[in-house]
């Protein structure tokens, strides 16, 4: 168990952890503001991957440039999904909300399967084999870009929530919906924003993954479960928690995979999940509001 192997494993974990964090932050944002657990979060990552795949393939552009199209499209998609579906269950309680987003998740997966088949696709990109060296540790360039972009977006979101009026309105809605109404703020605006952003984050995560991850219709479910674990670990509604949790889980998986068994790496996150649920359900930073 050489030091280099340990370092490499840690770095790999950190790199993938950034993407996890991005998906998880979207999830925690939606939960924080709307108190809805979006079981379909992973599917929007999947859609982001396919979107990137098709657009960059058809327009023959660098996948990262697709982001200029992806971001507005996904935000609008989030708005659409909210208006047609989510809006109707905001006040209907746990059961309806879980079932609706679960149904959406299943539906999106199946439609993807129907349209694009179960073949694993991968994005042809010259960047795929590019690597960086940091001392004895090798990092793949697309993964580094993914981590950097993810960090920038999450930190940007944190600034947005704490500095801007709209962001503060979102935090207020998360904390107490009734009070927000009396203050004259329409919580629905914050819902649309939260859901749109949450979905977009998932889509961007998909885009960032596509240069180095296989694209297939059920890829979402893996990231879905991992995102839930991270959100529970970090605390539902805590952006900081989702960020740190994402990096932590990424590292835990990577280390388990390298030193115990690749097949058990996923197990590590589930075990962490159950431990957190039973010992500290509020998570590391949880308090129920958006923070």
């Amino acid at each position: 168990m050489s030091l280099v192997a340990v370092l490499q494993s840690l770095v790999n974990g950190l790199l993938i952890g950034g993407v996890y964090a991005l998906v998880a932050v979207g999830l925690t944002l939606i939960f924080g503001v709307m108190k809805i657990v979006n079981f379909a979060q992973g599917e929007f990552l999947m859609l982001g991957m396919y979107f990137t795949f098709w657009v960059s393939g058809l327009a023959k552009v660098n996948p990262y440039l697709v982001s200029f199209l992806l971001v507005p499209v996904f935000f609008l998609l989030g708005w659409l999904v909210y208006s047609v579906l989510i809006r109707r269950v905001v006040d209907k309680g746990d059961v309806s909300q879980i079932l609706l987003t679960l149904g959406l998740s299943v539906f999106l997966q199946s439609v993807a399967l129907l349209l694009w088949g179960s073949d694993f696709r991968s994005l042809a990109s010259p960047l795929k084999t590019a690597g960086l060296r940091l001392g004895p540790v090798i990092m793949s360039l697309p993964q580094v870009i993914a981590l950097v972009v993810a960090l920038v977006l999450v930190l940007g979101l944190m600034l947005f929530l704490s500095r801007t009026d709209l962001g503060k309105a979102m935090r207020a809605t998360a904390e107490n919906r009734e009070i927000v109404l009396t203050l004259g703020i329409n919580p629905e605006k914050t819902y649309i924003l939260a859901f749109g952003l949450g979905i977009t984050f998932a889509g961007v995560a998909g885009l960032l993954l596509s240069p180095f991850f296989y694209i297939f219709p059920t890829v979402g479910s893996y990231f879905n479960l991992t995102a839930f674990i991270i959100v529970v670990l970090g605390g539902m509604g805590s952006v900081v928690g989702a960020l740190l949790g994402g990096l932590l889980i990424g590292i835990a998986e990577s280390v388990t995979g390298t030193f115990i068994s690749v097949n058990l790496s996923q197990l590590a996150s589930f075990v962490v999940f159950l431990l957190v649920l039973f010992l500290r359900p509020a998570g590391l930073f949880g308090g129920g509001e958006l923070s």
Binding site: V95, S110, N263, Q266
Partner: protein, 321 residues
């Protein structure tokens, strides 16, 4: 739960009678298969309903119990030549253990947390089954080679005995749910679902009752797993412990009518043929696409008809939700 005006009680008995005599009219294998599958999923849905509909906790990990039953019986059969009737009892015992292990810590968690925890348990089981492949056959699963009619080993050449066993299991499951629904136990579950704090204030130990419902649900589900394994003659982790299966079970009950006795039965009658249709239309590589119906109908039901499709056929009695 739902009071059927006495006139409507006739329909299930009629359907039951038809189901009993059907094989005398036709033993067409395709029909037998569809109906057997309907019976299986209806039973699974009824079991799910005990926790999901009556107690209001959405379990998305029922496949864990299904798989425990299936693998236990299969392994005992292969290694010790033990009849699945006994192997199944072992499986049920393990399922009880699993239910206690899962239920005890998770029932105090809020809705979505509970559902996520059930998913986590099933996934952990699936990963472990894949990992210990020397023992369990790993991702390739275990095949049971057919060696001729052996009733005690649940091996039959004809589909008809399987059909009747599945029908019997369904009747047993529905019977159990019916007894529970009308008794104090079922009423307490409804109270917990409607308002747990109020229920506790009138003497209901909510954790205990939820756990009991979960255990019963687990036992029924595991026995169905045993049957399924020997009916199909094959088990693998994705098939019997997968998330897909858990979702299909939950959706069958919900689309049919969550919390209603006959809900899951209606759900199975609607969904299984639809899934078959989808398979034939888009079969092969796109086989998973039949889940599109499940997802779509689930959303429709949640948005427009939360009481499920059952309510299309019957008027609501005195109680409903």
């Amino acid at each position: 739960m739902k009071k059927n005006p006495s006139g409507q009680l006739l329909l299930p008995y009629l359907a039951g009678a038809v189901a009993f005599v059907l094989p005398l009219v036709s033993t067409e294998p395709y029909i037998m298969r569809i109906l057997t599958t309907i019976f299986i999923f209806a039973s699974l849905g009824v079991a799910w309903n005990l926790v999901g509909g009556y107690a209001g906790q959405l379990s998305l990990g029922q496949s864990a119990f299904f798989g425990i039953g299936a693998y236990t019986a299969v392994l005992f059969y292969l290694k010790l030549n033990l009849t699945p009737l006994l192997g199944g009892l072992m499986g049920a015992g393990l399922a009880v253990l699993a239910a206690v292990l899962i239920g005890l810590p998770t029932f105090r968690l809020r809705g979505a947390y509970f559902s996520l925890a059930t998913i986590a348990f099933a996934e952990i089981l699936r990963i472990l089954l894949m990992y210990f492949r020397d023992f369990t056959g790993g991702a390739n699963g275990i095949s049971l080679s057919f060696k001729g009619n052996q009733p005690w080993m649940l091996q039959f050449y004809s589909p008809v005995p399987y059909y009747y066993i599945a029908l019997f299991l369904l009747i047993a499951a529905v019977g159990a749910a019916w007894r529970i629904e009308r008794a104090k136990f079922g009423r307490y579950l409804a109270a917990i679902r409607e308002n747990q704090e109020a229920a506790e204030s009138i003497g209901v130990n909510s954790g205990w009752y939820k756990l009991l419902a979960f255990i019963i649900s687990a036992v029924i589900t595991s026995l169905l797993g045993v049957f399924y394994a020997f009916y199909i003659g094959f088990v693998d982790p994705d098939m019997v412990v997968g998330l897909d299966l858990s979702i299909r079970i939950a959706v069958t009950a919900i689309v049919g009518g969550i919390g209603y006795l006959w809900g899951p039965v209606v759900g199975a009658i609607v969904l299984i043929p639809l899934a078959e249709l989808a398979s034939t239309l888009w079969g092969g590589a796109r086989a998973g696409a039949n889940l599109a119906f499940y997802g779509f109908l689930l959303m429709i039901v949640v948005l427009f008809r939360p009481q499920g499709m059952l309510s299309l056929f019957t008027e609501k009695g005195g109680s409903s939700h």
